[in-house]
């Protein structure tokens, strides 16, 4: 029998019964509130030596299913038996799997007796030591040796040199941690002056920025920033501190716009790179990578993605002559138990739990709920509260409103805490002061429960994530923001009928991208995915998905593969009545990308994407693009500055400016402090809708959009915007629901003020400036901070910008700015202002979390020390 044959036989027959027995026993240790089963078989009945031998045979396989079984056997031997020899054997097996973090965890939990090496025979000890040496890498920046798994080692080995790299591994493989270490190493040891780390969401940007700052500690040689401003970039280029810029794809374009021809980065890391396939923003990411690569032909690019099928697909656009390498892993680092929950017949408080494991099912027991779950939300909440009572429990809901309701239900089932943890109290205080005194989050976090969605202010969201990691928040009810890129793992995730966005059932790869977060490698041995009502076809139209990896496909390629739709859209895009455009959601962004590419190259058959599409459809597209390009006099440099904005739209806007009969000054936005500002934005948004693209629709909501934009630019706090919104509802006699109003205000800020408005208003300004230069009215061009950056950060004063440049979140910057009289302070003057009032910060009635951020970012203690000793 071959080794592969033996491994297959072992799983199917040889150890099947014992394996099922340990699955049942290990999973039972993970779940709370199971009905006791005293008559069930125990660990004593298992033939451990045979099972461990099988484990070591399975560990030699490169198949995920075999490795999972080996990991299960090792974990069971360590945690279920009392025999030191069996536990030691389990640890050796973990070593064979290069899972050193799990061994460390077993030691930390005192599941292993100290001095394992001494108890091993000479041969085993030598083998174990050789393996540890083989599986270590030297972090040059710190001089430390790091023990790594197979994936991490292959990444480290292949990441050197100038080649483009695409790495993919399941969540909880230690990707982010390792890549950040590697990034710092590159800057410490190499010639890299400017590195950019791209992350798909502002949430992830803040998180990576914070992690990097933590890793860098006190070093001043490497700066980290998430602001697309020229200062740190230019300092790094001039030989000062090197810089790591953490950006979304939109911010990378903003930086490139600010720098113009000087834009050149040395190293680009693209995290969550599979999101190049996302609708509408995927092509902006693709454009950002291509733009950076055009600006520096020697740019090194590293793509990272979670459990993807084809990481090499990202490398096809590497410039000719650049080597590429894909590092792919599907190896498990932590056990993931897929558990389905079905109600016991006629007993709504009892739920049968069954583990599904590659084709087999293993009943693990019955879950006892505290209360009868009437309705689907209660079902989700009560099962989560019962099974995940010990904490680290994530509950997935299909929307922000539902997440609040489910969190509320979970909290009601928890015992009233005797006293409130100080950190939870501080977060509750921040929620009350930073959002609204009656924001639902506040009383919930006091009980260790929170909800989490995309449009929340980052300071609050990051603190929720931090306290969930530390265990103080025991239940976190989340929405699809979590699949959109937040690095958060959990012990247990509970789901029922998960959807992505509004109404679309989750595809298998999305489900597993989410479910893959169950299991905190190094903190737990196992993670649990509990799927409720697996047979309900409304909840799970295609059943609970089998494990699947994400297929990477660029948004641009996906849209082109739809057939003639793109060419048809382009041929209609030149019409004057934009409101008649159909399917713009699908085609506008990619169409804009194609048009700019055509303008740059003269034909898209000269573009990299032509490798992936047939000549006939490319010729048809070229024809449609040529017809548009013939009408465009705006140059390609200007259109490149505005990814996702169509050049033909920019041209139409230019024509509208030319035919404008009024005073040209009225085309400019008014100062936000002026009375005209709001109305001017109303008119400008209408103009954008009519000529550029109907971005601010429906038309009747433009006034609300304009109001939000003005308040945001004026530097209003979210709390103030919510307060005014409530006031407006009261004075106009309109009814409102506070939670909905709060969520809507947050959404308007994120989606309009920080996303659509900067995108389209900065394009508007660029075309207007072109027009002003052509009519010799350059005197009207303001060379200050561009409107895109002002809107992205919600600032229009020098002082606020300085505070954010110093690393404060907007929430803290705005809170502090309310106390600062002057609007023109530089960074140094802001620091001086705070330093002078250091002793009074606590008395200024800021939430403690804001004071903490002020102290960390503006009053670094080591500086004070070094000054005083100098």
């Amino acid at each position: 029998m071959s080794l592969v044959g033996l491994q297959s036989w072992l799983l199917q027959e040889g150890i099947r019964d014992d394996l099922d027995a340990i699955i049942r026993l290990t999973v039972r240790t993970e779940l709370d509130n199971l009905v006791p089963e005293p008559a069930a078989p125990s660990a004593v009945a298992i033939d451990w030596p045979r099972l461990l031998l099988a484990g070591s045979i399975l560990a030699r396989s490169d198949q995920r299913i075999d490795q999972e079984a080996a990991l299960r056997i090792a974990t069971a031997a360590i945690s279920l038996t009392d025999d030191q020899a069996l536990k030691d054997a389990g640890a050796v097996l973990l070593g064979k799997l290069s899972n050193f973090r799990a061994i460390t965890l077993a030691n930390d939990r005192r599941l292993l007796t100290a001095g394992l090496d001494g108890r091993l025979g000479v041969a085993l000890r030598l083998e174990s030591q050789r393996r540890e040496m083989d599986r270590s890498i030297l972090v040059e920046s710190s001089g430390a040796w790091l023990q790594v798994n197979d994936f991490q080692q292959r990444f480290w080995t292949n990441a050197g040199g100038g080649s483009w790299l695409s790495a993919s591994a399941p969540t909880a493989s230690g990707k982010t941690f390792l890549v950040l270490q590697w990034l710092i190493d590159q800057l410490s040891a190499g010639d890299t002056r400017v590195a950019v780390y791209l992350a798909p969401t502002r949430a992830l940007v803040s998180e990576i920025e914070t992690t990097l700052q933590g890793l860098l500690g006190k070093t001043k040689r490497i700066e980290v920033s998430s602001l697309p401003l020229r200062d740190k970039y230019e300092a790094a280029r001039a030989g000062g501190a090197q810089v790591i810029l953490v950006f979304t794809q939109e911010r990378l374009h903003l930086l490139a716009n600010v720098l113009g021809d000087a834009f050149s980065i040395d190293l680009l890391i693209v995290d969550e790179a599979h999101k190049i396939g996302d609708s509408q923003r995927g092509v902006i990411l693709q454009d950002a990578v291509e733009r950076a690569s055009r600006a520096n032909s020697k740019l090194k690019v590293v793509f990272i993605s979670p459990a993807t099928q084809n990481p090499e697909a990202l490398l096809t656009d590497a410039p000719d002559g650049v080597q590429t390498v894909a590092v792919d892993s599907d190896a498990p680092t932590v056990l993931q138990n897929l558990i389905v929950a079905n109600q016991t017949q006629r007993k709504p408080k009892l739920w049968n739990l069954t583990v599904r494991q590659q084709g087999s099912t293993v009943p693990v027991g019955t879950l006892q709920l505290a209360s009868t779950p009437a309705g689907l939300r209660k079902r989700l909440a009560f099962i989560a509260a019962a099974a995940g009572q010990r904490g680290g429990t994530l509950v997935y809901t299909n929307g922000a409103g539902e997440s609040e309701d489910v969190a509320d239900l979970v909290s009601q089932l928890l015992p009233q805490p005797g006293s409130i943890d100080p950190e939870l109290a501080q977060l509750a205080d921040l929620a009350r002061k930073g959002v609204h005194p009656n924001f639902r989050l506040a009383p919930l976090v006091e009980r260790g429960v929170a909800f989490h969605f995309g449009n929340m202010p980052s300071l609050i969201r990051l603190e929720i994530e931090r306290l969930f990691r530390s265990g103080k928040i025991r239940f976190l009810v989340c929405t699809s923001t979590l699949i959109e890129g937040v690095n958060l793992s959990c012990r247990t995730i509970v789901l029922r009928g998960p959807r992505k966005g509004i109404g679309h059932p989750m595809e298998a790869h999305d489900f597993w991208n989410l479910a893959g977060r169950a299991g905190r490698w190094g903190n737990e041995f196992q993670g649990n995915i509990i799927c409720i009502d697996p047979e309900d076809t409304e909840a799970w139209p295609t059943g609970v998905p089998s494990r699947a990896r994400y297929p990477i496909k660029r948004e641009s390629d996906a849209v082109l593969e739809l057939g003639d739709g793109m060419a048809d859209y382009l041929s209609r895009r030149g019409v004057s009545d934009l409101s008649s455009l159909k399917d713009s959601d699908k085609f506008e962004q990619v169409g804009a990308y194609l048009l700019t590419t055509f303008m740059r190259l003269g034909s898209i058959s000269a573009a990299s994407l032509s490798k992936r599409h047939d000549a006939a459809s490319l010729a048809k597209l070229d024809q449609a693009l040529a017809a548009l390009a013939a009408q465009i006099e705006i140059d390609v440099d200007l259109t490149t500055r505005h990814p996702g904005v169509s050049a033909i739209g920019l041209q139409r806007l230019l024509e509208a400016f030319r035919s404008y009969a009024g005073d040209v000054e009225n085309l400019l936005p008014a100062e936000v402090a002026s009375e005209d500002s709001y109305d001017r934005f109303v008119t400008i948004m209408g103009r954008i809708n009519k000529h550029l693209f109907p971005a601010f629709e429906p038309e009747k909501v433009i006034r609300l959009y304009a109001l939000i934009v003005v308040q945001w630019l004026k530097g209003f706090s979210l709390a103030e915007m919510i307060r005014r919104n409530i006031e407006w509802h009261r004075t106009t006699g309109r009814t409102y629901s506070l939670p909905v109003l709060i969520r809507n205000t947050m959404e308007l800020v994120e989606q309009v003020a920080r996303f659509k408005a900067p995108k389209y208003l900065s394009a508007y300004m660029d075309v207007l400036h072109m027009h002003l230069r052509q009519i010799n009215r350059e005197d009207l061009i303001d060379h200050g901070l561009d409107i895109g950056t002002q809107l992205e950060f919600g600032i229009s004063s020098r002082t606020l910008l300085s505070l954010m440049e110093l690393g404060l979140s907007r929430m803290s910057a705005v809170a502090l700015y309310e106390k600062i009289a002057r609007d023109d302070l530089s960074k140094e003057e802001c620091v001086a202002w705070v330093t002078e009032r250091e002793g009074q910060l606590e008395a200024m009635d800021f939430p403690v979390i804001i004071v903490r951020e002020l102290r960390e970012r503006l009053l670094p203690l080591d500086d004070v020390d070094s000054n005083s000793t100098a």
Binding site: A661, G662, D663, E665, N666, A670, E675, D676, S677, Y678, D679, R680, F681, V682, T683, I684, G686, R703
Partner: protein, 98 residues
């Protein structure tokens, strides 16, 4: 009743209705948020002199006029004073005095 003529700066109107029509046209030439141009400002300043609350409206002095949102999604003229205050006014009231 005979038509009453009115002068607004350099413009003479034989009937008040014509003056209102002229100001209506002017208003609709502008978008909300626009600052009123120099020539039109002369006419508006003259019109404001006929307003029943002319002195109160002018206050400490007028820097410029704007067109902004009025109630119910319409638009109207607003005056901006040297002290930074702003107030809307009815151009019909300027002509008809009520």
């Amino acid at each position: 009743m005979p038509a009453k003529p009115i002068d607004l700066g350099p413009l003479h109107f034989a009937k008040r209705g014509d003056a209102v029509a002229c100001l209506n046209d002017m208003l609709h030439r502008y978008d909300v948020g626009d600052r009123v141009g120099a020539n039109d400002t002369v006419i508006l300043r003259a019109a404001l002199e006929h307003h029943p609350d002319a002195e109160a409206k002018k206050g400490c002095g007028i820097t410029h006029f704007s067109v902004r949102t009025a109630d119910f999604g319409t638009k109207c003229f607003w005056l901006n004073r040297t002290d930074g205050t702003t107030e809307k006014f009815s151009h019909r009231a300027c002509i008809y005095g009520t």
